[in-house]
Symmetry: C2
């Protein structure tokens, strides 16, 4: 199932299928939220199924990002977060409690068209980041008390 799926993903990338890599991908899938290297390390340490070195995690995050299996998420935290590549979406972060939520729609294409039209320097846009920051309803009600 999952294991086989991730194996095939790794094979398609042309990299070796190791238990560490599969374990890392499983953490991503189960978590459903952007997570850091240290975060993955913590999850795997607790689970005790596989022991993976932190350096190995960092190296694999690079490999997986290069093959677009995962992508970086810029949420202004102390450490770099990643999530499964899957479908395109963006995030909103609660600056009070750190809660995150994804949102599916994206009008970056519109922005990109504008930029390409107006900019002399840039005609090729390969990626974009759209992240919102706010206060989640829970924190709003807390602060009113």
């Amino acid at each position: 199932m999952k294991h086989e799926y991730f194996s095939s993903v790794l094979k398609k990338c042309g990299v070796k299928v190791t238990k560490q890599r599969v374990a890392i991908l499983e953490v991503f899938e189960e978590g459903c939220k952007p997570i850091s290297a240290e975060g993955i390390f913590g999850v795997l340490k607790k689970s005790k199924k596989v022991s993976v070195d932190l350096a190995t995690i960092y190296r694999n995050l690079q490999v997986l990002e290069a093959h677009k299996v995962i992508r970086r998420v810029d949420l202004r935290g102390d450490s770099q977060l990643y999530e499964l590549g899957g479908h395109h979406h963006h995030h909103i972060l609660c600056t009070a409690c750190g809660a995150t939520e994804g949102f599916d729609f994206c009008i970056a294409n519109t922005i990109e068209k504008h930029v390409v039209k107006q900019s002399k320097k840039f005609k090729v846009i390969t990626e974009h980041a759209v992240e919102l920051f706010g206060i989640c309803s829970e924190c709003v009600s807390k602060s009113k008390k």
Copy 2:
């Protein structure tokens, strides 16, 4: 002129007007581009007008950001970049050579409305980041050679 202007900005913030702070703000104004603590340090070192410790720069970046005199820019680099608060805009970064350009229009309000409408969790949005990544025309033509 500039010096007096920055002094008044600092006074409005209720912080002391020091030559270091003014020097830092001058670097921001002259550079016209997002710059890092280390970057500011380098500029000031070369100029030799004022010597400012790196720790002082970091501390002041925090102070200035807290007072919204400057703002953070998330361009996925090794270090955190900042720019003068001034008018609202976003950036596009060339992933090949690091060149940046600002663009003025912004449809984040539209996205924000969507999010507020669709999300149960978030009704209050305070900030947003919209950054594009691409290849600048110069790098495109270089790669074709």
